[in-house]
Amino acid sequence: MDFANFDIDQIFGLGDDTNPLLWLIWIIPIVIFMFYGQRIQLQITSGDIKKNIEKLKQLKEESRKELIDYIKKELKPKADPTQKIDLFISYFTIMPVDMDPNGIIPKVRHIMRSREEYTRSQVKAIFSDIDALDVTKVQNLLEVATALQLLYKIVNHLFLTAKKQNNYPLILPLQMILPFIMEEADALKGAIPALKHGQPLGDGIGPMVVGKMMIGTEKQKIAFETVWSQIEHEKRKLYLLKAEGPLATVGRPGDAVEHIVSQHKPDVIIMIDAAVKLEGEDSATVTQGFGAAIGGIGTDRFQIEEIATKNNIPIFAIVIKQSVKEAITTMTKEIADKAEETRSQLYEMITEHTKPGQSILVVGVGNTLGVSQ
């Protein structure tokens, strides 16, 4: 072979006589990507999503196993609870029709309370003797396992639908939302040890602030799993309200506020709660604002806003910022250290916004697990 004689133009098809083989090497990938580009992208994206679905499946199974083990080892059920637990985990809730939203709040409240009451009675039925704290712990653990199962089912459904239809655009929203779902799933899994051991959660900072103010006072039950008491502060009457600790419950602050307002007509309502921080905000920052600081499905907030508006009572809020994970796992030192500062801000707010002789309703909102009063 004569190597001194080769022609670069000929090899790369740059001469007048174009090389048909090279032409094909250029054109074939373009044709493949035109017709199969989305499928190729779908395959690449699928790998990452599959890994996350596997992780979700593992989290769901671990949460179920931990719940069953906890019940068997710590609570001594009458019989093997596995079948019943599996039944509870797969419960679903059908929300009321919202085409005509007028009057939907009482319907939502009714459905949620029916579900809650039914689950409570079913949990009690598993044991011959169980105290209120353990019932609320099992209820919370069940909610964690149910939420993880739901997340897994939804993500898996969206993924399999996209794969079945070979539809790449269908998988894009899932790819975008998956990091947030995984963050929530990790947070839910992180909540299990705190719930099992009865440790205060980050969300319990509101009840912690109010609970300390209630020490040594006469506590009365005002609504289901909700207590209140009265104290004096700088010639003002304070009505203190929180869920009944150390149970794993948020109580029924809506019903309780309605009751206190109708009986005692406070001049101001101040609500203390944990709030989800924005990205870039520091954890355990205490901030003040206006309006009803209370999360959940919205029925309690609606009830409090309604009664406050009817009676022309201003609502002030103090919130302690934290991430979703911090809110549902054992309270961090940074958040616990802010209880005293929050209490000082509350007293300042009371003296600034009210006069001697007036009365103030202070509500500590949140899950009061491990926080008595």
Binding site: G198, Q199, P200, K212, P246, A339, G370, V371, S372
Partner: protein, 59 residues
């Protein structure tokens, strides 16, 4: 890539209601906030659980 695995330990802080002396120990099941745990050795005041929190320890 080189980050250490984070582990958490839960602590209970007890405080005397009279002399405000504080002690920190590991959390025990059955602890809850504002529970009266014992009597203060120095002033005989009531000791309550003031804080329960998780702290990160690097494994």
């Amino acid at each position: 890539m080189f980050s250490k695995k984070e582990e958490k330990e839960t602590y209970t802080v007890e405080q005397c209601m009279s002399c405000n002396s504080m002690t920190k120990r590991k959390f025990k099941v059955g602890d809850f906030l504002f529970k009266e745990t014992s009597e203060c050795q120095s002033c005989k005041g009531k000791i309550i659980i003031e804080k329960i929190f998780a702290e990160t320890i690097n494994a």
